[in-house]
């Protein structure tokens, strides 16, 4: 419950989830990025939400060279730390276990990422489109394009 010593957090995580943690990067003061195996996501997220009473902020989908990255942002409101769980998904058939059954706040953002990036969330209660229902072609994921810096509204 709160008040966790962040100096020993990496050791605690390695003790509990040995093998699931790939890398821990201290990005800035109070900001940690933890690279994890995608299969271990529900377990580790549950540890932060239940045991440490973290708040789920949001998830971010990103395109990388080999597929996609998802970052789940958690906040410790007692100390101001932001813990980020980052995991990579392959370009073909990107799938990851949904967090919506653990925490309701993940419901909408997973629908949004599914719509914009085409990432499939397994066991999501209602994986329909969130923002462009009825307006956008199926299987066209506007944010999943690799091109950047070339925004042209007429292409949409």
């Amino acid at each position: 419950m709160g008040g966790i010593n962040y100096k020993i957090l990496p050791e605690i995580l390695k003790l509990n989830f040995n093998g699931d943690i790939r890398r821990i990067i201290v990005q800035q003061r109070k900001r940690l990025v933890i690279h994890i195996r995608k299969e271990a996501l529900p377990e580790i997220a549950n540890y932060f939400l239940d045991e440490l009473s973290y708040r789920f902020i949001i998830a971010t989908g990103m395109v990388n060279d080999n597929g996609f990255d998802i970052i789940y942002h958690f906040s410790d409101d007692k100390t101001g730390y932001i813990i980020n769980l980052q995991t990579s998904l392959p370009e073909n058939n990107p799938e990851i276990e949904s967090l919506a059954n653990i925490i309701n706040a993940a419901n909408w953002i997973e629908r949004e990422i599914h719509e914009l990036f085409g990432i499939k969330f397994i066991n999501h209660p209602n994986l329909t489109k969130l923002i462009s229902e009825g307006n956008w072609k199926d299987n066209d994921h506007p944010y999943a394009r690799k091109k950047r810096n070339e925004f042209n509204p007429d292409e949409l």
Partner: protein, 397 residues
């Protein structure tokens, strides 16, 4: 047999100032379930920002929200200064804090007015919006604009508040204080408002954690959470103020939290004005030469709650990915908890109680024909349409 009446509110409805669709599934007078549909106003700002330089992004994120146009640049500036590892001058910290708190004043006043309007108590609406004008005048005096102030940049602020104008700002603040008293008295002691808002739309502490709700919505349910205290930024650690909370979690508690926050905001602004002359006039910006590769996680407490900006840079001059999480995105989801089991008449004020801001929640606009999949309008068509209309108006004059 289980039959339910569906009552749609929206997408275009005189009650709501922005397009969104609520479907209330009702059993007689009681709301049993609620569905929310959005996307009428999505503008794709996250994607647009990838084609802008870091400095240009400020002007785009300022337009994410029509009401709290400082909170998004504030969170973005915090994220960028994290990547660049920049410490901003004290004077810039105070100016940023003054702007952010003035914005909280005008946004809370706006909410109080709207809440009164939804309850059918239009006197409160008229008063609150009249007093809000004074705050907008202050903004015009400091920044030159009533909204979209364009005050922020990486490393500081764009305009100084000269020491000579502090006296005038104080005078305008002094006008505001008795009016805040009047308004608070009118809302807190009114038996009709008590009857309409107490024990309505209750959110428990567990609901708040489950839905990740933030801001006054969370604080009214006894969750002591405020980014200004938890993860201090700008001048908030340098002034004295307290986080306002309430335990009940109903609509009245949310109103009380917002009204009492007015006084905290006025007090923060006054303390900042006290400390402003102690810093060097004109020293409002640190020099940031380039943005290194990295990730920035910026937060700011908007009037509606925590704004979260995630920026990833790769050493070039524009973001690789920019994620924006507006507070309404998580607060609106709590409707499923707060509306269910209440009557239809109470649903409107419960919907209004979290102060939802839909243009924050959505960020893209396009027009497609549903059946043919053909674009109805593209950018060029819209420009053409606009020019035709302008010409038609010119001809008619």
């Amino acid at each position: 047999m289980n039959t339910r009446t569906i009552i749609p509110i929206g997408p275009y409805h005189p009650l709501q100032e922005e397009p969104e669709l609520f479907r209330l599934y009702c059993d007689g007078e009681i709301v049993r379930d609620i569905e929310w549909e959005t996307g009428y106003n999505h503008r794709g700002i996250e994607k647009i920002n990838e084609s802008k330089t870091f400095d240009q992004v400020f002007f785009v994120v300022e337009r994410v929200c029509g009401i709290c146009s400082t909170s998004h640049p504030f969170a973005y500036a915090n994220a960028m200064e994290e990547i660049a590892r920049t410490e901003i001058p004290d004077r810039a910290k105070y100016i940023r804090t003054i702007i952010a708190e003035l914005e909280r004043l005008h946004s809370h006043l706006l909410w109080v007015g709207l809440a009164g309007h939804f309850l059918g108590y239009n006197t409160v609406f008229m008063w609150a919006w009249k007093y809000r004008e004074n705050v907008l005048d202050l903004f015009e005096k400091i920044t030159g604009n009533r909204n979209n102030y364009a005050m922020f940049k990486i490393g500081g602020v764009r305009r100084d508040i000269p020491d000579s104008s502090i006296g005038d700002i104080r005078k305008l603040l002094d006008i505001l204080k008795p009016k805040a008293d009047l308004l608070t008295g009118a809302v807190m002691d009114d038996p009709v408002i008590h009857a309409r808002t107490k024990n309505i739309g209750i959110l428990s502490r567990e609901d708040i954690m489950n839905y990740g709700a933030v801001g006054p919505t969370a604080r009214a349910s006894g969750v002591d959470m405020d980014v200004r205290k938890d993860d201090p930024y700008a001048a908030y650690p340098l002034v004295n103020w307290k986080v306002i909370t309430a335990e009940e979690g109903d609509v009245f508690a949310k109103a009380r939290v917002r009204l009492l926050e007015l006084y905290e905001s006025i007090s923060i602004i006054e303390q900042c004005l006290d400390k402003l002359p102690r810093t060097k006039e004109g020293n409002i910006s640190a020099t940031v030469k380039n943005i290194p590769e990295g990730m920035g996680f910026g937060r700011a407490e908007a009037p509606r709650g925590e704004v979260f900006h995630f920026v990833k840079s790769d050493g070039s001059n524009s973001p690789v990915r920019h994620k924006i999480r507006a507070p309404s995105y998580v607060n609106v989801a709590t409707f499923r908890k707060s509306c269910v089991g209440q009557t239809i008449a109470d649903a409107t004020i419960i919907l209004a109680a979290v102060d939802p801001c839909y243009c924050c929640t959505e960020r893209m606009a396009f027009a497609y024909d549903y059946y043919s999949g053909r674009k109805v309008f593209n950018g060029i068509d819209l420009v053409k349409l606009s020019q035709e209309k302008t010409n038609a108006i010119k001809m008619s004059i």
